[in-house]
């Protein structure tokens, strides 16, 4: 069976809460307003009839201005959000590299945390036991393995999270920004590992604003603008299309003003 992603006419409406507008008032008024005006529930269309296909072997750059719907689209692809309408078809084991610190217990030891995270990723206990030494070695934290996680620095915690998240190869990788975690020595190691994972996975979807890196990693691109697909095609052309959008944007805003 081939690895692929098919997105057909996907629309996603998301509920959000909005406070009633209140003009600039004294700080007392603002505080009282915050306490007593009930928020209103509304819907926003974050993705608007999005369609595209990604076939095996593709490295897709996801481009778009802030708030264009990149992260939301990744969450739809990862299965977190189900489309309000439209069809999403994903074939292949997927992994979202969106949150490195997910599900850590800071009072438990490093080894316990590796078990915790790996079970959350759905890995069988027998397999985890084999993974533990590798993960500790890669993160360079073998000496502190029996210490509580809370005694580690945030950089060390990132290293551990990265080592666990990337310890398994999946068919489809979804990433929000490219991770460059830790000190200089670890960054190189992390980059090599990520390159390797990207090279051996069948589909990569990467959201980023770093053109240089996107050109290096990706071969095609999808540009989102206000929840709609503005462009799909070759990665350099996609970057050009994206540049056009964000250059045009201030003009439109000026006109409106």
């Amino acid at each position: 069976m081939s690895v692929h992603i098919r997105v057909k006419d996907v629309t996603l409406d998301v509920p959000f809460y909005e406070q009633a507008p209140s003009g600039t008032r004294s700080w007392v008024g603002t505080l009282l307003g915050a306490a007593f005006s009930p928020p209103r529930r509304r819907f926003a269309r974050i993705l608007d009839h999005v369609s595209f296909d990604i076939d095996s072997g593709s490295r897709v750059a996801l481009l778009g201005r802030n708030g264009a719907g990149k992260t939301t689209l990744l969450r739809v692809l990862s299965g977190a959000f189900q489309p309000t309408s439209g069809v999403l078809e994903v074939s292949g084991a997927r992994q979202a590299l969106l949150n490195l610190g997910l599900g850590f217990n800071s009072e438990a030891t490093l080894v316990e945390n590796i078990f915790l995270r790996a079970t959350a990723m759905g890995i069988a206990p027998a397999q985890i036991r084999e993974m533990v030494p590798q993960i500790l070695e890669f993160s360079g934290l073998g000496e502190v393995a029996q210490r509580r996680l809370s005694t580690l620095s945030s950089g060390q915690r990132m290293r551990l999270g990265f080592a666990i998240s990337t310890s398994v190869q999946h068919d489809i990788m979804l990433m929000d920004e490219w991770f460059g975690a830790g000190d200089a020595g670890f960054v190189n190691k992390a980059r090599a590992r990520l390159n390797d994972r990207v090279a051996s996975s069948q589909i990569v979807v990467l959201a980023s604003h770093n053109f240089q890196m996107l050109r290096k990693v990706c071969d095609s691109g999808i540009v989102l603008e206000q929840g709609k697909v503005a462009f799909t095609g070759e990665v350099n052309a996609a970057i050009e299309a994206y540049k056009k959008i964000y250059r045009a944007a201030p003009k439109a805003e000026k006109k409106a003003a």
Binding site: A80, Q82, S91, A93, R94, G122, D171
Partner: protein, 281 residues
């Protein structure tokens, strides 16, 4: 590991056609893989007491103190003998605490696991089982104390103690659906956890745990109101047989109705609303 999976979502609800998306599919998949919810919960509990001197003894002490101290005082106030009253209070209190913790935990469970859900782990049954697993561990420890009291008390027979093997699973099965519904409700309306917090304090005093329901015969208004409380029926279903009595017939019907109706409700709600949870939280 399953390397292929296909997800299809349609405009209106999810058809449980593939068997993997419905409640039954999710629940059985979660139960077959207990590492996620059982291991992490156990780790939560163990690490919480790791810094303390007494360690896991803290799981036994509160129940022990509550039952022995309060039991001695209230047996006098209520006019029962200590041998009768301690088992009555102990079982009632342990069950109540279990129910309370289940409901409390599950009212915020989806919100507190937002990071997991946003990462694409949308098998919600995992999180609900997590919310039940923690009270279960505490309940198991409390039962150690309670069974100790039951064995000590001359008023309780062995048959009564054995009846727990049959009645406790029914209580747990009921807490599963209640937790599910509360969790869904709590994801949509954040008021839920506040509301439940209020309800549970009052509930402890209103439910016959410290006092005997015989004070309010069934044919009086107060007795009728006391019997409107489903918690009473669930607790008495466990408690009465253990103390060598038969629960009221109404209790048996109510518990049977709750079990069947609750699981049906949970199935309907899960099918209809589970897919919205990531958007709500």
């Amino acid at each position: 590991m399953a390397s292929h999976m296909e997800t299809r979502a349609r405009a209106l609800g999810i058809s449980g056609k593939s068997g993997g998306n419905g409640l039954v599919g999710h629940l059985s998949a979660s139960i077959r893989r207990p590492e996620f919810w059982a291991y992490s919960t156990w780790l939560d509990i163990v690490t919480r007491y790791r810094r303390t001197r007494l360690g896991l003894a803290w799981l036994l002490l509160p129940t022990f103190v509550f039952i022995t101290v309060l039991g001695n005082v209230y047996s006098l106030l209520m006019g029962f003998s200590v041998a009768e009253y301690l088992p009555y209070l102990g079982l009632g209190y342990a069950c109540w605490r279990f129910m309370l913790m289940c409901i409390n935990e599950s009212s915020t469970v989806f919100r507190s696991h937002k990071a997991f859900i946003m990462d694409g782990r949308v098998r919600l049954t995992d999180y609900v089982l997590r919310a039940i697993a923690k009270p279960m561990f505490f309940f198991a420890f409390a039962l150690v104390v309670v069974v100790g009291v039951l064995i000590w008390s001359p008023a309780v027979g062995w048959l009564g103690i054995l009846s727990l093997v049959a009645t406790l699973p029914v209580l747990v099965v009921n807490m599963v659906w209640i937790s599910f519904c509360v969790a869904l409700l709590g994801a949509r309306f954040p008021d839920t956890s506040e509301f439940i917090g209020t309800l549970l304090v009052v509930g402890f005093l209103l439910t016959p745990i410290l006092w005997h329901v015989e004070r309010f015969p069934a044919d009086t208004t107060r007795g009728f109101l006391a019997r409107m409380n489903p918690a009473f029926h669930l607790i008495d279903f466990v408690r009465a047989p253990a103390l060598g009595q038969m629960p009221e017939t109404t209790s048996l019907f109510v518990v049977a109705g709750l079990t069947v109706g609750g699981w049906l409700l949970m199935g309907v709600l899960y099918r209809r609303y589970a897919r919205f949870v990531p958007l709500w939280i």
